[in-house]
């Protein structure tokens, strides 16, 4: 299935501009925080929870909170008109998924009584209990930070200025660009890089490597696929041995401890911190990932927001919570745990607002990384209620077609649960 520019634009909608300018927006949002909006977007609250970010964790928290504490006003601030499911980014790169099936709106949240404001958060004023947006400010009684992470392209020299040479699937706009590049590729060396942890979806880079390798082999395109890994083994560590075998079986070149710090656009070369060089015809440099700048500016922490992993309350803050990718916590940065963290945080927020609905089940993680379009691995990790890993609950399983079915069933399931 080829993707036309028109289709891409249709799917992307308003999300494109915001996501495509990820790194620049990162800076702009910090700059915008200095512009104090004078107008209140909503009347002064009596019991209002403001959730910054309508991704899978923010949406799940909002809907759960409405069920647990219906008298509480829940507001979601989200800059994009739609949400594209994160796990499907890798599917989309090689045409395994129709983007329309995994693109959802916030209509179900609105039907549940959640107020969804289409506005980017540009600053936080914790002293005044305000979230700033370009249109005005919103006051809160409880603040929830669920922004996710942004790629810090500026941390790899010359990457920001040469993004077209190196699209990646860690933003939706980048995913669409990467797919176009993969479809247009006529042969040569494709290099994908793995940043140091923590980054979103630890198995993702290896999945992309396997999927594009399979895609080009089917098309008869002669391609050498190279994985440059900043880590000394494939991620997550539990899957390291399985990944090594999978990559070797496919003839994918794997170079561990290769931390890319520079892109030389003239020679199309990636350079490591040790000065090693890797030439490419098409690259996909996945940058290190950081919380949006305004969070650091508000004093909530950088590069992530430190939280109590049992309650998701931000350390040193009475009425601020954070979870999902943006939180500094022991939980894997995956859609699966983000979804459960959003749900569990809602219980703790409800309790703090006087609605004790008991304790939710602890967070756990299941992940089904693709090794081809037909087979996926399995990894499971569990934590106790205080966020301590339970080593006895770790499990991995080799590639199987059943895991692909499980993955899809799970993804459609969490989208239904969070977005209706």
């Amino acid at each position: 299935m080829r993707l036309t520019r028109r289709e891409a634009l249709k799917v992307l909608g308003g999300a494109t501009v915001a996501a495509a300018t990820g790194g620049i927006a990162h800076q702009l949002l910090g700059w915008a925080a200095a512009q104090e909006p004078a107008r209140a977007l909503l009347p002064r609250p009596s019991r209002r929870v403001v959730i910054v970010g309508g991704g899978i964790s923010g949406a799940m928290c909002a809907r759960t909170l409405r069920k647990l504490a219906p008298e509480v006003e829940v507001v979601v601030l989200e800059r994009n008109p739609t949400y594209v499911s994160g796990p499907s980014h890798v599917d989309y790169v090689v045409g395994l998924e129709d983007a329309r099936k995994v693109t959802v709106t916030f209509d179900a949240l609105v039907r549940d009584g959640v107020k969804v404001l289409r506005a980017p958060a540009t600053g936080l004023r914790l002293g005044d209990s305000r979230v700033l947006t370009p249109q005005g400010f919103v006051e809160y009684n409880v603040l929830v930070v669920a922004t996710g992470l942004l790629p810090a392209e500026n941390e790899v020299r010359n990457l920001l200025e040469n993004r077209r040479l190196s699209p990646h699937a860690w933003t939706w706009a980048g995913t669409v660009e990467l797919r176009r590049a993969v479809e247009a590729f006529r042969g040569g060396t494709f290099v994908i890089t793995v940043p140091p942890p923590p980054y979103k979806c630890p198995p993702g880079p290896y999945e992309v490597a396997c999927l594009v390798d399979e895609f080009w082999k089917k098309k008869g395109v002669r391609a050498e696929v190279v994985v440059l890994d900043a880590n000394d083994r494939p991620q997550p560590p539990l899957l390291a041995d399985l990944w090594r075998r999978v990559l070797a079986d496919r003839g994918i070149v794997y170079k561990p401890s290769f931390k890319v710090v520079e892109l030389d656009p003239g020679t199309r070369t990636l350079i490591s911190d040790r000065g090693e060089r890797q030439r490419f015809d098409l690259a996909s440099v996945i940058p290190p990932q950081r919380a949006p700048l305004f969070i650091d500016e508000a004093g909530l922490g950088a590069p992530f927001v430190p939280v109590d992993p049992a309650t998701f309350r931000v350390r040193g803050q009475e009425n601020v919570y954070a979870f999902g990718d943006v939180a500094a916590s022991p939980y894997t940065k995956s859609a699966f745990t983000a979804f459960l963290q959003g749900r569990n945080a809602a219980y703790h927020i409800a309790r703090a607002l006087g609605r004790d609905r008991g304790d939710p089940d602890p967070v756990f993680n299941q992940c089904w990384p693709y090794v081809s379009s037909r087979e996926a691995l399995l990894v499971e990790v569990a934590w106790d209620k205080d966020g301590r890993a339970i080593p006895g609950r770790n499990r991995t399983a080799p590639a199987s077609p059943k895991h692909v079915e499980d993955r899809k069933r799970w993804e459609y399931g969490i989208l239904r649960a969070a977005y209706g």
């Binding site: 020299r157 560590p237 390291a240 931390k259 590069p303 500094a328 022991p330 966020g387 890993a389 770790n394």
Partner: protein, 259 residues
């Protein structure tokens, strides 16, 4: 008066931080019967580490050694490189070491090779202290600190080495024991600028990240709050430097078995 007060504060602070390093050394590793090997020649050991085991490797020498720790990652080319006396890209290298402590640990079981090469002749003790990951995590959960790795290095001229096992919540302590020169803890970008000659070491120094041996301040403590790599970069004559990577209980918020 103010100057003397500043000197007094510096002396007290130095004494406190040195005391911290000595105290945390004494607390490591956990109790257990250590295997001890005393050698004068270059040596390679191969050790199997069971799932959940955390064996602390300790090396001390009257000479000067380079220690290479290589975890077998299933790549036959890397193993061949190690066996040929080279340094595989995933190996941890500790150059110009007088003493060293580094854990060989694995959650799922693994095999390690340790190579000790003498750069200056001397008698070298290699010890393996048994322990478990759970014991180490237990110390953090009890609110105690844990030394992850430490080394004493002898520096001649320009020297740099990556510092391993840094995550948010770790403390990186450096003490200049003797000699003249500068010791800095640089992030990757600054390290590359200095290494590639785009900047001098002094231009990348701040009081929070550097010590100048001649200034009277000999101890540096850096609280690591991010995931950036750090490199210990030194310039000087006869510098003897000890560094220590210490996990505080805060590390528990960042360590997961899956990331």
């Amino acid at each position: 008066m103010g100057r003397w007060a500043a000197v007094l504060v510096a002396v007290v602070l130095n004494g406190f931080l040195v005391g911290q390093m000595v105290a945390s050394r004494a607390g490591e590793p956990a109790a257990g019967t250590a295997q001890v090997h005393v050698v004068k020649e270059d040596t390679v050991h191969r050790r199997r580490v069971q799932a959940g085991e955390r064996t602390v490797l300790e090396v001390s020498t009257t000479g000067l050694v380079e220690v290479v720790v290589y975890e077998h990652a299933g790549d036959p080319r890397e193993l061949a490189q190690f066996e040929a006396g080279q340094v595989p890209r995933t190996a941890k290298v500790f150059p110009r070491v007088r003493d060293l402590s580094y854990p060989l640990s694995s959650m799922s079981g693994s095999e390690f090779s340790v190579r000790v090469r003498h750069l200056a002749p001397g008698q070298t003790e290699i010890r393996y202290h048994p322990g478990t990951v759970e014991e180490a995590m237990g110390r953090l959960r009890k609110g105690q600190n844990l030394v992850r790795n430490q080394a004493t290095l002898v520096v001649a001229g320009r020297f740099s080495t990556p510092v391993y096992q840094l995550v948010p919540g770790t403390l990186l302590r450096v003490q200049v024991r003797s000699g003249k020169g500068t010791v800095a803890l640089l992030k990757t970008r600054d390290y590359l600028d200095v290494k590639d000659g785009r900047a001098s070491l002094s231009s990348r120094c701040t009081p929070a990240t550097c010590v100048e041996a001649s200034s009277g301040r000999t101890v540096l403590e850096l609280a690591v709050g991010d995931y950036d790599d750090r490199y210990l970069v030194a310039e000087g004559d006869g510098l003897v430097v000890t560094y220590q990577v210490v996990a505080t209980p805060e590390v528990l918020n960042y360590i997961s078995s899956c990331t």
